[in-house]
Structure formats: structure tokens, C-alpha cells
């Protein structure tokens, strides 16, 4: 039986496009460049991913062949652009498995999506209502809720984390109450890479009737979320972290919730009828898409999703996990190196420090060697305060990185340590 299953597995493997990192790297022109005279080693993928030629071609094609404003013109270019833009929305709907295409709202990115929901809830909340966020949040996930609480008199509560950088779910249970209206958690922490148990978080929130917004910015480059299976109320993501361009993202919202929320911004595209007495709003998704959107960006986001699906999210997850294990092992061999975020459930992000050295100094020396990492508090100061550190060096790997690049990082960190200590 075992043999049979194995044979079947091998057979299936043959049907899939084999994962070949060297071939994939050829899709990314930027990976050929040098920085400070050294081949670029790009390990800042959690901040933004690189762009494959297929997506660059899509952007060039748009501006070369059918650049026009959408949803209005009767002329051919406008219709072509509208068709492609709406085709991209359908691709995104399919990718996230949303029930309806108008549940996908194009935004300028994750932060925009969060603000849209936070603003919408300001008309639904009363004094004393409670919002729960997690201790693992990015600043963009904390500030809009603080502003919302100031406006409405609602109370912000925080799910604490443990030493491994995992949320303490037993504490979350205690925070949930009949006053809880909204729970807001990232799918994956940007600073530590922890994958949060959002299935349980969503289920528990729904049991007491609260809505849940998940920030998928860090998850979508690694995982293909199924919003219906998750039963999540709102889910936000950015294109630029998943091989797409900057300045575009999506908000998924369940139709019932999106109908409940008032429009975020006023302007063209979002209206049905305007008189000076009253304006009626357009239907979903246009109600939330005021003004001319990032048309090219939306279409290119669709191309990026096609690209990533072609590489295959299972292959990406397996390969990146391999990189993570290899890098963790190699980095821990360096004396004085401590990794922050040691959950068993994490993506290919390693946040670390070396005893006695400021992360900024390591990042500066690594840059001189052509190695791009992020240093600092990663816009997640509460996490840094928890560990009582000013920041970390963060190396985040994508499917186009290699073990040879990790070796270069390890050598770079050793050299920086020798120079700095």
C-alpha cells in the first residue's frame, strides 16, 4: 500500500511543472544586477518582492497598447482596458476563492484596505464596544484602530504574545466578550514570520458575533488563502509583496458586510446618481472604488497572480521551508546570534541580532557587500519592546533565493561581526 501511494505521488509530481530555481531566477531581471560591486543578494522580500519579466511585460503592454480610463468610455481602448481590469478582478476572485467578484475591492494596498474597514466601522460602533488586535501587528494595523477608538469611544484590547513570538490564544479567549465587535489580526507577522492560527481566531470571534479582518500582506506571497473556507469577513493584501507592482492591493469583504459599510471616499466611479440634494451610491464593488483606480496596477496584479500560480504555491512553500531551515541552522552556528520568532509555524523570515551589536551596523556592512536585508523595528515597535531590543536584522527569503545566497549572508554576518566587535 505504501509503495502504491508513493508511486502515485511520484506520478503526480511528474505532471506538475518541476520547480527549478535557476530557471525561475531568469524571469527576474533585477537579480542580475550588482550592488556596491557585488552580485545582489536580495533578502528584503517581506518588504517588497521582485518583479518577473512577465509582469513587467504586462505593464509595458498596457501603456503601449490600450492605456485608457475604464468603466466610462464607449471607445475601443476604454473597453479593452475595462475588460482586462475586470478580468484581473475575476482572477483575483478565483485565487482567493471569493464567492462573488464584487466582493473583491481594488485598493492602493493593505493599509488602504484596513483604513477603509476601520472608517466603515466608525458608523457601526458605540461607546464601550471593543476591538481586539494582536501584539504582533504592524503599525498600519494599530494606528487606524486607535483612531477609530478615539472617534467612537470604543476600547482597544490586545492579544499578548509569548517568547516564541506566538499569540497566546488562552488570553484571546478571555478578551472576547459580548462587547467585542471586531477582531483584527495579521495572518503572518511581518517582523517575526509567525503564522497565526487565524482559523481558530475567526471561529471564536464568530461564536460571539464579532467580525474578523485579517491582514494577509505577509501571507499571500507564501500561502493561497481560501476566504470561504476561512469564513473570514474581511481579508486584505498587497500586490507588491507577491511579484506585482506597488500601489495596488485588494480588500475582500463578505457581500453582506460590504453592503453594511458606508463608502470610504467620495468621487467619480462610486456614484449612481448625483444631484445637489442627494447622491445615491453605486453598487459593489464601485461604491468603494472612488476616482480613477490604478488600472495598470490592477491588471499587472492579475499577471502576478498568474505567475505565482504557475510556479505553484505548494512548490513555493516546500522550497522556502527548505531555505528557512538551512538559513536557521547556518546562522545559529554564528556565536552570539539570537533569532527572534521561533514558532514552529513560520514563513521564510529570520529576525536576528548579534550580542553587543546594533542591527543598523550589521545592515550597513551587509549592504556594502551587496546583501539587502531590513534593519530596525520593522514598523512593529511593540514587538521590539516585548523583547527589549531596539530592532533586529531581518532576512526574508522568496522562492527565487538560493542556498548559495544564504551562504553569502552567513559569510557577510561573520565579516560584519569581526569588523564591529
Amino acid at each position: 500500500m505504501f509503495r502504491y501511494t508513493n508511486a502515485l505521488y511520484l506520478c503526480n509530481m511528474k505532471l506538475e511543472t518541476p520547480f527549478n530555481v535557476e530557471a525561475l531566477r531568469k524571469d527576474f531581471p533585477i537579480l542580475n544586477r550588482e550592488v556596491n560591486g557585488k552580485p545582489l543578494v536580495y533578502f528584503d522580500n517581506a518588504a517588497t518582492s521582485q518583479t518577473p519579466q512577465q509582469v513587467i511585460d504586462c505593464i509595458v503592454d498596457y501603456y503601449s497598447n490600450y492605456n485608457a480610463n475604464i468603466h466610462r468610455g464607449v471607445h475601443t481602448l476604454s473597453q479593452e482596458a475595462t475588460d482586462k481590469y475586470e478580468a484581473a478582478r475575476l482572477k483575483i476572485q478565483k485565487h482567493f476563492n471569493a464567492n462573488k467578484s464584487h466582493e473583491i475591492i481594488f485598493t492602493s494596498g493593505t493599509t488602504h484596505g484596513i483604513n477603509l474597514v476601520a472608517n466603515g466601522f466608525s458608523s457601526l460602533l458605540n461607546k464601550g464596544d471593543e476591538i481586539i488586535v494582536s501584539a504582533l501587528e504592524h503599525h498600519s494595523n494599530i494606528v487606524p484602530w486607535q483612531m477609530l477608538c478615539e472617534r467612537t469611544g470604543a476600547i482597544l484590547k490586545v492579544i499578548p504574545m509569548n517568547e516564541d513570538g506566538e499569540l497566546v490564544i488562552s488570553e484571546y479567549d478571555k478578551l472576547l466578550s459580548n462587547n467585542t465587535r471586531l477582531v483584527f489580526v495579521n495572518h503572518i507577522s511581518n517582523a517575526l514570520g509567525t503564522i497565526n492560527p487565524i482559523e481558530a481566531i475567526i471561529e471564536k470571534a464568530h461564536q460571539i458575533g464579532a467580525a474578523v479582518l485579517i491582514d494577509g500582506a505577509q501571507a499571500c506571497p507564501h500561502i493561497k488563502p481560501d476566504v470561504q473556507a476561512l469564513d473570514v469577513d474581511f481579508y486584505v493584501a498587497s500586490a507588491h509583496k507577491m511579484c506585482g507592482p506597488t500601489g495596488v492591493g485588494i480588500l475582500y469583504g463578505k457581500e453582506a458586510w460590504l453592503n453594511k459599510l458606508p463608502p470610504y471616499q467620495g468621487g467619480g466611479e462610486m456614484i449612481a446618481e448625483v444631484t445637489f440634494e442627494k447622491t445615491t451610491y453605486a453598487d459593489l464593488p464601485h461604491k468603494f472604488e472612488a476616482g480613477t483606480p490604478n488600472i495598470c496596477g490592477g491588471i499587472a496584479f492579475g499577471a502576478a497572480i498568474d505567475y505565482m500560480n504557475q510556479v505553484g504555491f505548494n512548490a513555493i512553500a516546500d522550497y522556502e521551508h527548505d531555505l528557512l531551515e538551512y538559513a536557521t541552522k547556518k546562522l545559529l552556528e554564528i556565536e552570539g546570534l539570537k533569532i527572534y520568532g521561533t514558532s514552529k509555524h513560520k514563513t521564510s523570515v529570520i529576525s536576528f541580532n548579534i550580542a553587543g551589536i546594533h542591527p543598523y551596523d550589521i545592515g550597513t556592512i551587509l549592504d556594502k557587500m551587496g546583501i539587502a536585508v531590513r534593519t530596525g523595528h520593522h514598523c512593529a515597535q511593540p514587538i521590539m519592546d516585548f523583547f527589549k531590543i531596539p530592532g533586529t536584522v531581518r532576512a526574508s527569503f522568496a522562492f527565487y533565493n538560493t542556498k548559495a545566497e544564504i551562504d553569502a549572508l552567513v559569510e557577510g554576518v561573520k565579516k560584519a561581526t569581526n569588523m564591529l566587535l
Binding site: H358, P359, Y360, D361, T364, I365, K368, G376, P390, L420
Partner: protein, 156 residues
């Protein structure tokens, strides 16, 4: 970077007193380095060896809010000269501060206000002037000049 170079650089400190001359000295000294490693090793050594600020001034009101490393600056007026002391929790930043202090400390407020900072580009540290580095160098220079403006007002 051998220790002779370090000694020569510190020794040359006393040769010139005017801001432009000190900047030219620093440019000459940095021209001796063959590559970035020597340049950075030198700054790291400067950062390690120099006592920069009295601990009592390492308080939040002396802090220049940079994104990544913390920088404290304090200024005193001694006769008609501004004397700066500073520190940082990052060693390369501290090395840069040491260079800035060598240029701007013990100068008249007006000379500090009028001084340009092109020498930073000329010694190969241009990248530290970029706002994305957020290491506080730009804010640091601004802060030094602000102190000078304050003392200039006091003097006149």
C-alpha cells in the same frame, strides 16, 4: 587599517582650527583608504574609542529621533565657541558623529551656521545622507546648526 594611520589622523586634529580646513584634512585622510572596508573599519574604530557624551545627557530630551539608531546631542557655549558632545547606540553612527564633532565642535556659532557639509559626500559616505538610511545624520547636522543658531542669538 593599521594603528599608525589612526594616530596620524588624530594627530592632524590639532593642525587646523577652521571648519573648511578641518573638512579638507578629513577628505585627505579618507583618500588614503583603498576600499569601503578600510573606511568603515576606521569609522568603527572612531566610534569605539571616543568618549562622546556625559551620561547625564543621554536623556530623551537630548535624543534626535532617527528611525533606526538613537543619537543624543548636547551643546555648551564655552566663551564664544560651541562645544558639542554626542553619542549613539550604533557604532557606525557613532563614528560619523565623531567626524561631525571634529568639524563642528569648538567653532563660532556663525561659522557652524554657514558651514556646508559637502565633505561627507567626498569621503564616500554619501549614502548616509540619504533619507532612507534614517540614521539621523541629516537630522544630526540640522540639530548641530539649531544649537548654533540658539547660541548665536544668545551672543548677539
Amino acid at each position: 587599517m593599521n594603528s599608525n594611520v589612526t594616530i596620524r589622523i588624530f594627530a592632524s586634529k590639532e593642525n587646523n582650527v577652521n571648519i573648511t580646513d578641518i573638512q579638507n584634512d578629513i577628505i585627505d585622510e579618507f583618500s588614503m583608504f583603498d576600499d569601503w572596508e578600510e573606511r568603515y573599519q576606521y569609522m568603527i574604530d572612531l566610534g569605539k574609542t571616543l568618549p562622546l557624551i556625559n551620561e547625564q545627557y543621554k536623556t530623551d530630551d537630548h535624543l534626535i529621533k532617527g528611525c533606526q539608531s538613537r543619537v543624543w546631542v548636547h551643546a555648551d557655549l564655552e566663551s564664544d565657541k560651541v562645544v558639542f558632545t554626542a553619542d549613539s547606540d550604533a557604532i557606525i553612527t557613532k563614528g560619523i558623529i565623531a567626524i561631525l564633532i571634529r568639524v563642528f565642535s569648538n567653532q563660532n556659532p556663525k561659522d557652524i551656521i554657514d558651514a556646508n557639509t559637502d565633505f561627507i559626500d567626498k569621503i564616500g559616505l554619501k549614502e548616509h545622507l540619504s533619507p532612507t538610511r534614517a540614521n539621523g545624520l541629516v537630522s544630526m547636522i540640522k540639530q548641530l546648526k539649531m544649537y548654533a543658531v540658539a547660541y548665536q542669538t544668545q551672543l548677539s
